[in-house]
């Protein structure tokens, strides 16, 4: 059964530097890192290794004291060389110097028929100890799922509409077997349906569009139509007390590989994108890899920002920084830390805006690929404009009121206004278009944390 949901609201940020459908092998990164900060739920990370320890791919490195069953494992074999801490000894990064040859922990292979008959509890145990569990995200809150829960449904968005996002149809074209097996495992975790949400606007891989035993939902429209949160809202929304899980295709494939090979396979393909990249294309690398070798000799600007992830929800990292756990994209854009004479009033065709206020002419040329820098294009102000956020959030939610409820720390209002249905990526476009320049994703996360702890 499939039905199409057409989303009219949204905005496509058309940026220069889309990855060409080509995969390169950059020299293997020397170091890898696991960053507890990639997982918003981890509040009290505990170390399982010390500096100098040797680890294999799949050796547990950390766990969260609040959810000790979920282990966060090393993506490669090597030596723990540095444990980086920040203020108040907050654990920031665990760096591993990789071996030349990757060695794996063995979690036991399964044949396809064994996987079919495998019981859910056993599958969970294997996933928890091998490092693939954090791929499973819980809604509400967008945090690593609690293995004790049984979700009402599981949702997989098979396309990413973020600016410069990788094309799953390209990077996963050879992963059908692993994806199908991963799906088989995931189906065990819910009494309800597993949903695969595909794009109607492009040709999808058969493993997505013809997956068996799942519900296929078609979506069309601009970004954020590919956001799983938006999709859930239109398929089977999260109400108070509901728990649903989401997994990215990469997670499904990684789970599939775990059961097929018995190994925690952290290799992944990432898109190197952005206007400052000489040849935007895909690279074969791994979870937590240092981006140093990938960007080497490949950057054209001299004052740039490296982003792990996409330009809407990503995180600034250093030139020798590490790819975030969930990220499949590295974006490089120019820094914008300079003043511009009368920049707030000058007519311009080079800057992108959803608005058409005097002098903003980008609406005339929708096909143009824009080079945007990191300037905020204005200072933070009180909320003044209304009715703008609604244009880019294709959900029956009143964002202004929700943000104000969060700022006022009003728990009842946050709940009533739909905080259970949103995570940061869903309001990223609101943040992008906000003329008052608020950090709306951070505000939302503050509200979510209040709901979790309150």
């Amino acid at each position: 059964m499939s039905h199409t949901i057409k989303l009219k609201k949204g905005f496509d940020i058309n940026l220069a530097g889309k990855a060409e459908n080509k995969i390169s092998n950059a020299p293997k990164p020397e170091t890898f890192a696991i960053k507890p900060t990639d997982f918003p739920a981890i509040t009290r990370p505990k170390l399982l290794v010390e500096e100098g320890d040797s680890v294999k791919a799949g050796t547990p490195l950390i766990y969260d004291k609040m959810a000790p069953d979920v282990l966060y494992c090393s993506p490669v074999s090597g030596e723990v060389v540095e444990i980086k801490r920040g203020e108040k000894r907050k654990l920031l990064e665990l760096r591993i110097l990789a071996d030349k040859e990757n060695e794996f922990e063995d979690f036991g292979k399964y044949s396809k028929s064994d996987i079919k008959s495998l019981d859910a509890q056993k599958a969970k145990e294997t996933m928890l100890k091998s490092g693939v569990w954090p791929n499973i995200i819980q809604r509400p809150y967008g945090i690593v799922a609690n293995p004790e829960d049984s979700p009402k449904a599981i949702f997989i968005s098979a396309f990413d509409t973020h600016p410069l996002a990788p094309d799953y149809n390209f990077i996963y074209r050879d992963e059908e077997e692993a994806f199908t097996v991963g799906l088989e495992v995931i189906k065990k975790f819910t009494e309800g349906k597993v949903h695969i949400n595909i794009s109607e606007d492009k040709e999808m891989l058969k493993m997505f569009s013809q997956a068996e035993g799942v519900q296929i939902n078609k979506f069309s429209g601009k970004h954020p139509s590919g956001n799983v949160g938006v999709q859930i809202h239109h398929i089977d929304p999260i109400n108070k007390g509901d728990i649903a899980w989401t997994v990215k295709p990469y997670g499904v494939i990684q789970i599939g590989k775990l059961f097929l090979t018995g190994k925690y396979d952290a290799s992944k393909k990432v898109a190197l994108t952005g206007s400052e990249v000489k040849e935007p294309q895909y690279y074969q690398t791994s979870v937590g890899a240092s981006i140093k070798n990938i960007i080497k000799d490949n950057i054209s600007g001299d004052h740039v920002r490296y982003i792990s992830g996409n330009p809407l929800t990503g995180e600034r990292i250093d030139a020798d920084g590490y790819l975030g756990y969930y990220d499949e994209q590295i974006t490089v854009v120019p820094e914008g830390d300079f003043e511009e004479l009368l920049g707030w009033i000058k007519p311009t065709t080079s800057k992108l805006s959803i608005h058409r206020a005097i002098g903003l002419l980008s609406f005339l040329n929708k096909k143009k690929e824009y080079v945007l820098n990191t300037n905020t294009n204005g200072e933070e102000r009180a909320f003044v404009m209304t009715g703008e956020f609604e244009k880019v959030l294709p959900m029956d939610i009143l964002p202004n009121y929700l943000f104000k409820a969060i700022m006022a720390e009003d728990f009842d209002e946050m709940e009533a206004l739909g905080i259970f249905e949103l995570i940061e990526e869903d309001v990223a476009l609101c943040e992008f278009i906000d003329v008052s320049k608020h950090e709306l994703q951070a505000i939302l996360r503050k509200g979510i944390n209040l709901m979790i702890n309150g």
């Binding site: 004479l341 608005h355 903003l360 300037n375 009180a382 003044v384 202004n400 992008f432 951070a442």
Partner: protein
């Protein structure tokens, strides 16, 4: 590096912590950001690039949308002046007289308003906000051309402090700031803002038979005296053709500086709607509400004003100006999209009711908007509640 940037860099230490003028840092920043878009960049996590628009550009868009009204208003002051004293004059002469009257009002409005704003920003250590760019122009455009400048100053101070700053500044106010200034004058100095104030006469004497009455006043008097229809009174007005529908649409009639020309207001509306800065839902529904209420009164038809054709309501008085530039103020209007329809519609209805039924206030748009400013949160409340209810209902089904 630009020499102005160098100058700013040079004086910056004076305004930094520990500097001589540390207290005035917000003013330093305010001026620098008017000249230069600041070098602020996005944070570590979250959006890494941002939309080109900001509040400054949004606000200046509204100011630009008001320029047709302003230019026409300047000409019209002169036009009305020479008409009243019975002299013919060239275009340049009319503009000259108009500019002499209007520009000081604008200067006072901006100087006093910004001065008040700066003072409050320094005291409360707020960033200087661009909201007053719009308010300053609005206040000037809704003043009668003959208003004493000290009254403009007083009204501006009152409005900025009482209507805006005590609530926390731009974005926090309940009432429209410019209309509060106007309402202040209306109640504090009624003789200077009603009656024979809409035409600037200066030292000259008016021609025989001259009347400075506005169309609203004429319509109201007709209803009071019970003689003939409003349209008959319009056509027998001392200046021939003054209150024809066409002339009122074009706006060559007595009134506040910027409000008379429906045509110019519509040009402004086109700019606001095309740029997406003003809500077309509010603009449309104010006009729709006023017209439908006018039709309603036609049906009742107890007096001559009620019988005035409904579409006349749209071109007389300040309805068009209020609908386009005042009712659309996003802060004091309804914040929800459904709420905007209701809010605008009620403003239109109330304006016509106040005009026709209430003997004390010949112009209704000011009070209608202020009243609906107060009720806008209530309208929004019900829209928000229905959103919450939909969510709850979904959960229980």
């Amino acid at each position: 590096m630009n020499p102005i940037q160098k100058f700013f860099d040079k004086i910056e230490p004076l305004f930094e912590k520990g500097g001589k003028y540390e207290k005035y840092h917000t003013l330093y920043e305010g001026h620098r950001t008017i000249l230069f878009r600041p070098k602020l960049v996005t944070g570590k996590k979250g959006v890494q690039v941002r939309d080109a628009n900001d509040l400054k550009r949004t606000m200046i868009t509204v100011v630009i949308a008001m320029i047709p009204c302003l230019l026409f208003g300047i000409w019209n002051i002169g036009h009305q002046h020479f008409l009243a004293i019975g002299e013919t004059a060239t275009f340049i002469q009319k503009i000259g007289i108009g500019a002499i009257q209007a520009i000081p009002i604008i200067i006072v409005s901006y100087a006093v308003g910004l001065g008040t704003e700066f003072a409050v920003c320094v005291i409360r250590n707020h960033p200087v906000n661009e909201g007053y760019l719009v308010t300053g122009m609005l206040i000037a455009l809704i003043m009668p051309p003959s208003i004493p400048l000290w009254q403009v100053a007083l009204a501006t101070i009152f409005a900025v402090i009482i209507a805006k700053e005590v609530f926390g500044g731009t974005g926090m106010n309940v009432l429209n700031v410019a209309l509060t200034a106007r309402a202040f004058l209306y109640f504090a100095y009624p003789t200077d803002i009603s009656g024979e104030v809409w035409t600037y006469l200066g030292d000259a004497t008016a021609v025989d038979g001259y009347s400075g009455a506005t169309a609203l006043a004429v319509a109201y008097d007709t209803a009071l005296n019970g003689t003939g229809t409003v349209l008959e009174s319009f056509s027998s007005f001392w200046a021939e053709g003054m209150y024809s529908f066409k002339n009122m649409f074009i706006g060559a009639i007595p009134g506040s500086i910027g409000e008379t020309s429906t045509l110019m207001v519509l040009i402004g509306a086109a700019i606001l709607i095309a740029t997406g800065v003003g809500s077309w839902k509010i603009i449309f529904s104010v006009f729709a509400g006023a017209w439908l209420m006018g039709l309603g009164f036609n049906a009742i038809g107890v007096n001559a004003f009620m019988e005035m054709p409904a579409h006349y309501h749209l071109v007389i008085g300040g309805l068009a100006f209020g609908a386009v530039f005042m009712a659309t103020d996003p802060v004091s209007a309804a914040h929800t999209e459904t709420g905007k329809w209701i809010y605008g519609f009620l403003i239109g209805i109330l304006t016509v009711i106040i005009r026709v039924v209430n003997p004390a206030y010949p112009e209704g748009i000011m009070l209608a908007i202020l009243l609906m400013n107060v009720f806008a949160p209530l309208i929004d409340h019900y829209v928000v509640e229905s959103n919450k209810k939909r969510r709850l209902k979904r959960a229980t089904v």
